[in-house]
């Protein structure tokens, strides 16, 4: 029970961190990585719910099957998203990929 909780909460924190980066940062690569971190958090939660201590019966196969296909699908989604990000960079004047930091240094804002 403790183990399941620990893994579930870690997955939840990963999900939250990914969600924060997804919304706050404007760089496409960061957003793609954030979605990946969120997906990892969800997979961790799903696997944790299926966890049963050794010797107390079999694992719950339904979440395992979902995670199994989910991982492969998330890889393909990442690949497609990376191509999209490259296309955005090629076809826009925004210099999205060249922008190093979305926050200006303090001095420029007069703080």
């Amino acid at each position: 029970m403790i183990t399941t909780m620990l893994y579930s909460l870690t997955g939840l924190i990963l999900f939250g961190m990914g969600f924060y980066t997804l919304i706050i940062h404007s760089h496409p690569l960061r957003k793609i990585l954030a979605v990946n971190v969120m997906a990892t958090g969800v997979f961790l939660i799903l696997v944790a719910t299926a966890y049963i201590p050794v010797g107390q019966g079999d694992i719950d196969p339904v979440p395992h099957a979902m995670v199994l296909t989910g991982i492969v699908v998330s890889v393909s989604v990442t690949a497609l998203a990376l191509i999209f990000a490259c296309k955005v960079q090629e076809n826009s004047n925004l210099d999205l990929l060249r922008k190093r930091n979305h926050r200006k240094p303090m001095k420029e804002r007069g703080l």
Partner: protein, 236 residues
Amino acid sequence: MKKKWNNHIRGRNPFQLLFLFLLFMLTVILAVIFCNIPEKSSVLEAGIVSMQNQSGVNSPVTAVLLNFRGYDTLLEVMVLLIAVIGVWSLTKATSFGNTADISPVQLGVVHLLTPVMCLVAAYLVWQGSHLAGGAFQGGAILGAAGVLLLVSEIPWTHAVPALVLRIGLVFGPLIFTGIALYCLWARGGLLDYPTGSAGWLILLIETTCALSIGLTLALLFAGGRPDENGSEGDIQ
């Protein structure tokens, strides 16, 4: 210390702080929900255990993946195919460099590893019927082998005709769809395998899908459609 913290706060957009607060609340609420989830309901699991011997395989995960929830897996294989179509319609494959730039050690390792990886992939697919393993694991290993070949600029990877790649991509999904439609025609339910032959039908689906998934992952890494005149990634 306090001044530093104030500066840290002031440097941020108020909406950013609001979002951080809302996200924190969401996390806390979800954590509370997690803490109050009742002990696992074993209705699904009991159903799987009781139907296991009809599924044609001994591994519960494979039984769920390709028999009880076969429709779901069929759609996920289609998602992979659509991802490749999306990538191919956006860009052409780029070549990484020249074989001459690759160190001989790497080439030697690739020549040693590729057959072993193919063997491991075949073993994983075969093992899927009774232990952990199956089409997705085998496909991932095959995909890794393909990535290794692409990174090492092995010459023949650029000489594979585009038609062969296209047929390889749709091979697994087509066999899967064909079997699903055959079951619909013969038994009246999509992916309702005939009694007795579920085992080898699942193995057939897994083998073909592992090949297609491996090819899909490697081509996603190549990152674009092959050149129209027949050679993949051969640009200028």
